[in-house]
């Protein structure tokens, strides 16, 4: 594990846009004064004629993207998750989603790992507000390569897509050749006692938890689920049936987010006990990502504890 490389998922977004920009001239990128930190700058430098800064005015930017989509462009909107999935929600709902327009949204600075900027800039509700919208696809990639693949997939898909990524470097745990199938979970580790379902860059903590659990004699299945919507119902039902207990892990409010999406499937297919790792109805705060992961209960240690707790509730 010492050879693990670290890279921010936002870099995967920036690289994918540059790559796809060369292949498809319809791709345009819109920014809102956060061009560098969202990595939209890399596209802007390469294709200045296809980049538009809309200033600090996100609502307008979202609907301008909708207008560009109406004349055949493939617009990517780049700003922080809070400013897009919160502030411009009505624009996304009533214009992009209602008319099913081909708008792509890059939500940067997802989760508390943004760190020092604190609660105002940490998107902890964006997955919830995006996944309730009809026609919307919601993807939260786990690392650099998965982000690249998600963005490339979204460029080819016709319809609204929200891709969430983070600011801080995270371990690269997937390989360039790993499959990325929208809506399908990737099996990282097979197991029989419990299933850990991961969403986003917390995957690394899940992998460490699986190792610890193995040493304790607990066989944990680990599913990496990049797509929150449409969720992989089949993989969830199978995991519930075969392992009898589920722990979901996300860097987002547990209310309304990925864990809720999983629970909606579990109770309708094969009800089993669940535990939810994520933000527990609180705002974030300033700190290093490590400090915040500890404070908000997102580390491998917390995942292990949740697994041990859910196993007590598991039916004989």
């Amino acid at each position: 594990m010492s050879e693990i490389k670290w890279k921010a998922t936002r870099d995967g977004y920036g690289d994918a846009l540059v790559e796809m920009g060369a292949q498809d001239e319809r791709i345009v990128v819109l920014g809102a004064d956060l061009t560098d930190s969202t990595r939209a700058l890399w596209f802007a430098q390469k294709y200045p004629d296809r980049f538009f800064d809309f200033g600090i005015a996100e609502q307008n930017m979202l609907n301008a993207a909708a207008g560009l989509a109406m004349v055949g462009k493939i617009p990517w909107v780049s700003t922080y998750g809070v400013f897009v999935a919160g502030r411009a929600w009505d624009q996304i709902r009533t214009t992009t989603c209602y008319s099913n327009l081909n708008v792509k949204i890059g939500g940067a600075h997802g989760g508390i790992s943004v760190g020092q900027d604190g609660a105002t800039h940490q998107a902890l509700e964006d997955v919830a507000t995006m996944r309730v919208l009809p026609n919307m696809t919601v993807i939260v990639p786990a690392d650099y390569y998965e982000t690249k693949k998600a963005v490339i997939w979204a460029c080819k898909h016709v319809g609204p897509v929200y891709v969430r990524f983070g600011r801080e470097p995270v371990p690269i745990v997937t390989k360039p050749e790993d499959p990325f199938i929208m809506g399908k979970a990737n099996l990282i580790n097979d197991g029989t006692d419990v299933t850990i379902m991961n969403n986003g860059p917390v995957l690394w903590e899940c992998m460490k938890a699986v190792q610890t659990l193995k040493e304790k004699g607990i066989s944990a299945r680990l599913l990496n689920m990049h797509t929150v919507k449409p969720i992989d119902r089949e993989a969830i039902a199978k995991a519930a049936r075969e392992t009898g207990a589920i722990v979901t892990v996300e860097e987002h409010q547990v209310m309304g987010g990925f864990g809720s999406a999983v629970a909606e499937v579990v109770v309708q297919t094969y009800p089993v006990p669940m535990r939810f790792i994520g933000i527990q109805d609180r705002f974030g705060e300033s700190g290093t990502p490590e400090e915040l992961f500890e404070e908000f209960g997102l580390t491998a240690k917390h995942i292990v504890a949740a697994v041990e707790d859910v196993l007590k509730a598991k039916r004989g």
């Binding site: 345009v28 200033g55 214009t95």
Partner: protein, 280 residues
């Protein structure tokens, strides 16, 4: 000088449209008469004089784009589409009814509607994107956005105005139906906007102020807007909410309330609409 024969022809169309608006509202018993009637004349000049479009081919590449930011004037919008030939006039009977393509606020199920609207303060931003995209491709198509004055209270409207001025979108023309009223009363009492024309000018727009019920002025304004280079144009059309039905004129209460059947007959009589309109 505008063609006087064309003026007379457009006035006749505007009269039919006003009859259609009341007729659709009579069948729906729900909807927005006030703003529909105030925006009728300038929108007739747009659809039947200035606009390049082909009602038999909604997706024609060469068409100008119309975005109704004030989506609530759906009685007017669907009447314009029926008169143009996008839909049958008889379909107006289904307006606001379950299963109809003519929803309370327009959506893309209806031919001739480019995008669903109704949440105020959103249309101009869409128009900005459309205008930007068409210009990128070197297309000559023009973009028209029909707005109410009340939605100038939305912050997002000013974001859009700012960006159109910044990007010098001279293929974009806003028609501002300046009837001075909104649901809660006079715009100036609810949340004052004056000096409105100066505000748009300050955001780098070309402003044309007209009487929005003078057909010749409407035509001239639309002609002039096409000639403006290097900046977008707003036509501030001074209008009367409820225009054409005396007891609706300048009454805020007729913003979003449909007249009862008896009142519809009264309105149709005042407008001197033909007998076939009295079928409800």
């Amino acid at each position: 000088m505008v063609d006087q024969a064309k003026v007379e022809e457009l006035k006749k169309i505007a009269h039919r449209i006003r009859c259609d608006i009341i007729w659709a509202l009579a069948h729906a018993q729900s909807g927005h008469p006030g703003g529909s009637l105030s925006a009728t004349d300038i929108c007739v000049a747009l659809y039947f004089y200035a606009l390049k479009h082909d009602p038999r081919n909604c997706q024609w590449e060469g068409r100008d784009r119309v975005i109704f930011s004030k989506g609530h004037v759906s009685p007017l919008i669907f009447s314009l589409l029926a008169e143009s030939g996008y839909i049958e006039r008889s379909e107006l009977r289904t307006f606001r009814k379950f299963g109809s393509r003519l929803q309370g606020h327009p959506n893309i199920e209806c031919p001739g509607i480019e995008v669903g609207t109704g949440s105020l303060g959103q249309g101009l931003s869409i128009a900005v994107g459309v205008a930007l995209g068409l210009r990128m491709d070197g297309k000559p198509n023009r973009v028209y956005c029909i707005m109410g004055d009340g939605e100038n209270q939305e912050g997002s409207t000013w974001e859009a105005i700012m960006s159109a001025g910044h990007y010098k979108l001279d293929n974009l023309c806003v028609i501002l139906d300046n009837n001075g009223l909104q649901i809660d009363g006079w715009v100036e009492d609810v949340m004052g906007l004056q000096p409105l024309a100066d505000k748009w000018r300050a955001f780098r727009w070309h402003v044309i102020e007209i009487d929005g019920h003078d057909m010749a002025q409407c035509m001239e304004a639309l002609d002039q807007a096409k000639q403006v280079k290097g900046q977008p144009t707003v036509i501030i059309a001074k209008t009367v909410k409820g225009k054409g039905v005396s007891w609706m004129e300048n009454q805020a209460e007729w913003h979003g309330k449909a007249p009862k059947p008896d009142q519809c007959r009264e309105a149709l009589k005042e407008l001197a609409c033909p007998a076939e309109y009295f079928d409800f």
